[in-house]
Amino acid sequence: MTDISAHPSGKRKTSSLLQLDARTKRRNAAERRFQIYGLVCIGIAMVALVMLLVSIFSGGASAFRQTFATFEMTLPAETLDPDGNRNPEEMAKVTTIGYQNVLRQGLVTAVRGANIVPEGMTDADITGMLSPEAAADLRNRVLNNPELLGQQVEIDALAHGRIDGYFKGRVTMQSAERDANVTPQRLQLAQAMADNGLMALRFNWGFVTKPDASDQRPEAAGLGVALLGSLYMMLVVLVLSVPIGVAASIYLEEFAPKNRWTDVIEVNISNLAAVPSIVFGILGLAIFINFFHLPQSASIVGGLVLTLMTIPTIIISTRAALRAVPPSIRDAALGVGASRMQAVFHHVLPLAMPGILTGTIIGLAQALGETAPLLLIGMVAFVRDYPDGPPAGLFDPASALPVQVYNWTQRADPAFVERSSGAIIVLLAFLLVMNAVAIILRRKFERRW
């Protein structure tokens, strides 16, 4: 045997751990570059997120506050109860238009009494300060309690959207001059009323609890019906998609023979998960409304459509969670004499639970933000009546949170811009809570091997 000479020249190449050679430097540089690329990518994502949040919160935070006019007035009994017997059924003949006139007269008396009306401002101009919603509120209050008639009561009325916009900085004296819905005098009066404690901007629960409102009273629009509708739909999705999805995936993963049929089913489930959501809406219209004759705009149909959409997501994540449980667990259970069902339900399923829960919640969160399938089943609509309690209320017309955002962005009145951003904040809060629950559940039940 001869010595293998690595360096025919006979000169051995030396290297030092302390002094990096060119190749190592190149490799290190590549690694640093990669890290920088990664940081840049994260940076872009963060900037986009921050921009989104800033634009939504700067635009929408004001939706949670609303301007109210507070003044005292006597409710004229002879106008509001012409029959004089305090019977709510007969008093209901006086419409909101009648109440509006009464309320306006009360406001005129109050501000003229306080001596804060700008010179030359007419009574007719003053009456435009209040929201039409205030009359409806007063009417409900009086019909619920007819004894208020003839008494001095404190009125807490929503101010007109443009007046509200003035206190939020959306409407200025300059824009008011060009604006057909408000005059600079009204803004002066609003300022004077605020200085005298007759008008104030304060937190408005109505934004979360009240129903949608028409274009004429953006100040009164709220998310109440949309929240209930979304809640009902999530209930339907949860009750239907979790048992169906989990049962299907347990069968496919643990019991089904591996043959051509199960392959076909598997491919189809993966395909379904990628189908655009509007397709499920078309399916829902054809099956649930046209064939089963379920009502339009009802949260049950919305829930069923979203269930169809969510099931593939749940099946895929449940199967992944089941596959992640080590076979040794199953083998050990079967080895001590458990049946396959016992092995699955007593041992595998509890261990797969965190993964299943996470998948379910992510599926639900996805369904919560979906508008497209609801378009075709009539849920993208103006709905003002609260649905009844479940289960009957599932069949009442309802709206949904993302639908409300979509609807409000299409309204003509600029006051709806802040409301749609406000609705997005509520939707984001919902999603945040759901995702936080997913993370907590996963942390709590997670097992490592």
């Binding site: 209901a92 419409t95 909101t96 238009i97 039409p132 409806a136 009417r139 409407v171 824009s175 060009r178 604006d179 057909a180 819905n181 409102a213 028409s214 274009d215 004429q216 009273r217 339907v236 009750v239 239907l240 048992p243 409304i289 046209n290 089963f292 004759h293 379920l294 009502p295 339009q296 705009s297 049950i300 378009l375 009539g378 993208v380 609509a381 103006f382 709905v383 003002r384 009546d385 479940p390 289960p391 009957a392 599932l394 069949f395 009442d396 017309p397 609807n407 962005t409 299409q410 309204r411 003509a412 009145d413 600029p414």
Partner: protein
């Protein structure tokens, strides 16, 4: 686990049971259709819910065509009761309706709406004629006796009196009823007014010429907006050269962001539209399924309330929002009372 099982099965059973009992009856009025009529319909629906014992009607948007398609699906509790439209129902739609058993249809006109042309509030002022719009938007125009692709790129090339500003128009997409009115009252009228119709008829035949009048250029100078007026407004705010087509009520709610152009020298207001001076207006209406009156509670009351003087009259909330009140409202009220069908 057993509690969960119990509650799940209880809910499932309740759902099935409720399906059976709720499948047939419906107590809420269902309305769908034109996005131009939508704000008026919601204003009336809101007031109706407040003042009557009936539930507030559910109003969907989606465009006149989509609403009428839904309307013509058939008779029964899972079809809509009222279709809003910013154009008249077409013969083909009446036929579809009849094929599906929707025969007795009530046509209710609620008033008029002006179509206005508006640009960014701090931009140039415009005074249009229909001929300007035809020349600016036509796909092909006649130059020296030949049909050529529209060569105009700025408004002053179309009409020397207009400012030198690139042509960029945001017009309603084909699913909107407004588009049809725009084609008929602006493009076709402008085509005739400018004499292009005659020239084109001489070149080919009358039908082709009429079609060519309303064919809109597709080189990016004219943009179809399939969304609502808010989308048109957003486009104008991002590109100051844009001129958009709006409903009068939308413009009146956004006077701080938009300035309106005159058409043939007339400024669009409720007065000029009511008198017919302003040329581009159309009636707004809705169609009611007579078969649903008496079945869906409150339907007749809702329709009556919609056209009542308190709502659609010249001093009502609809007029305050921008609807041009119909001078013949009393006739409409009588027709609704008698449940007259088309």
């Amino acid at each position: 686990m057993s509690f969960i099982k119990l509650s799940v099965s209880a809910l499932a059973l309740a759902a099935v049971g409720a399906t059976a009992s709720h499948a047939q009856d419906r107590d809420t009025i269902q309305v769908a259709g034109s996005s131009t009529v939508l704000p008026y319909a919601t204003i009336v629906a809101e007031a109706f819910g407040e003042n009557f014992e009936f539930p507030t009607p559910v109003v969907q948007s989606g465009g006149s065509g989509a609403g009428l398609a839904q309307f013509c699906e058939g008779v029964g509790s899972n079809t809509i009761d009222i279709a809003n439209a910013s154009r008249l129902i077409k013969d083909s739609e009446i036929k579809t309706c009849a094929d599906n058993g929707v025969t007795d249809i009530m046509h209710v006109q609620i008033g008029y709406d002006g179509i206005v042309f508006a640009s960014a509030v701090d931009g140039e002022e415009f005074a249009f004629t229909p001929a300007d719009w035809y020349k600016a938007l036509a796909a092909q125009v006649v130059v020296d006796g030949k049909m050529v692709a529209n060569p105009y790129t700025t408004w002053n090339e179309v009409n020397p009196d207009l400012p030198e500003q690139p042509i960029l128009a945001f017009i309603p997409g084909t699913k909107h009823g407004t588009r049809e009115v725009f084609e008929e009252k602006v493009l076709a009228a402008g085509c005739e007014e400018s004499g292009a119709l005659e020239e084109m008829t001489a070149l080919s035949d009358a039908d082709t010429a009429e079609e060519a009048c309303v064919a809109v250029r597709t080189d990016g100078k004219s943009v179809d907006i399939d969304g609502d007026y808010t989308e048109t407004l957003a486009r104008i705010q991002s590109d100051a050269n844009g001129i958009g087509v709006f409903g009068l009520s939308f413009y009146e709610n956004n006077t701080n962001a938009l300035q309106v152009a005159t058409m043939s020298g007339v400024t669009p207001t409720t007065e000029t539209i009511a008198s017919g001076e302003y040329p581009v207006s159309r009636p707004l209406q809705f169609y009611v399924k007579k078969a649903h009156i008496g079945v869906v509670p409150g339907l007749k009351e809702f329709v009556t309330f919609f056209v009542s003087d308190d709502m659609a009259g010249p001093n009502g909330p609809l007029a305050a929002y921008g609807l041009v009140s119909d001078p013949e409202l009393a006739a409409t009220q009588a027709a609704v009372e008698a449940e007259e069908t088309m």
